[in-house]
Symmetry: C3
Subunit: 160 residues, 3 copies
């Protein structure tokens, strides 16, 4: 087997200023509590029976499959936001859907849109929704800023 | 070991309209039959002795290494296409090469270009080609459209 | 467990011309010695106790977690550069930080900037630095050129 199916997930967000766009992104990861891991970006499903947990500290440098939205900006005064939504189906043996959205705009605007995106994705799958979770973060750029919202997938054994 | 070497692969394509670019991409994944998996993008080799199979249903939410081309557009009436090509060497112990290309343009144009890209990549490696496979898809945008062509890598045990 | 924590790493760089931007990128990977692997991009930590080794040949087609900077250009005569820096902490049980930077500009400029980025990232973590490594490459574009600098993470068993 190459890579297994995750069994747990959690939601985090962060924002930061930084020396460069990548430093601001790094700061946003640190403020989200996942700055010392190796994120591997993926598109964007919650496996059936995958359980929501509170954010847990992950081993430093471990490879972590993550669905995330992130934006950087160097326009002073600009409001930037990132959001993720998770739509979970009524049928527990079906997978859930993650959507990500990030743009200039307020937290409320961006979060509303990502929630709508998740609803549309479940409608396309003809799956009834049991629950729709979302998180979002906004940041007013000083010099170079970043926001990040993420769904981190993880495995039972590692949480222990 | 961190991650092993895939043993099987298959080619898929899809196209869709959607509420947002990400929803259109999600719809293209669903129409390709891989919409309920977690794609991990990678660059772009078919391991030696890796076998082509017909598309198989993958476990929902599993992490799937995939080489893909995808494009979205919100320009009504625009033709967008995505294509992938796989060049396999005469020497079976050498790896094959995957190339991806996507742009505005017809399926024929985009597929011709990706095939040429794969030939050039094998020429650079000085490997004789046994076979050149490709798939492509085009879509005429209504409001927000996406196309996707992908080579999905997978492992023997999982296909079972 | 989904994916483990890497135990070894090495630094490589490359540059190439190519038929298309993706072919130039592919050529840069080949010149870096990692052109026949499947790179999975990740952000950007050296796990504690992860050991620097000389570049080793990796199995063809294997999935390889890699932090990298890459750029392509089709502007004839343009100088493009890519660089990565690795900042290692005095405390060996803390992780190190990888930064990537790529832009138009000389190798010296781009490498200086990526080193500064790594220093800033360690300052943000309030970690004293034992060592700062970096590599960089520049290329003068003829028709279509690419540069790449990468930190490849790997696992002890595979190097064996």
């Amino acid at each position: 087997m190459i890579i297994k199916t995750p069994t747990h997930y959690f939601l985090v967000f962060g924002a930061s200023e930084g020396f460069t766009p990548l430093n601001a992104f790094d700061g946003a990861l640190l403020s989200a509590g996942i700055g010392d891991t190796n994120l591997v970006k993926m598109s964007s499903i919650v496996p059936p029976h995958c359980k929501l947990v509170s954010p847990v500290p992950l081993p430093a440098g471990s490879l972590v499959p993550t669905a995330y939205a992130s934006i950087t900006s160097d326009v002073s005064g600009e409001i930037i936001s990132s959001a993720v939504a998770v739509a979970l189906p009524k049928e527990p043996h079906f997978p859930g859907l993650i959507m990500e959205y990030t743009a200039r705009g307020t937290k409320a605007e961006i979060e509303e849109r990502v929630r709508r995106m998740a609803l549309e994705g479940m409608k396309l799958r003809e799956r009834e929704i049991k629950e729709l979770k979302s998180i979002a973060v906004e940041h007013k750029v000083q010099k170079v800023g970043a926001t990040l919202a993420a769904v981190v997938l993880w495995d039972r054994e590692e949480i222990g």
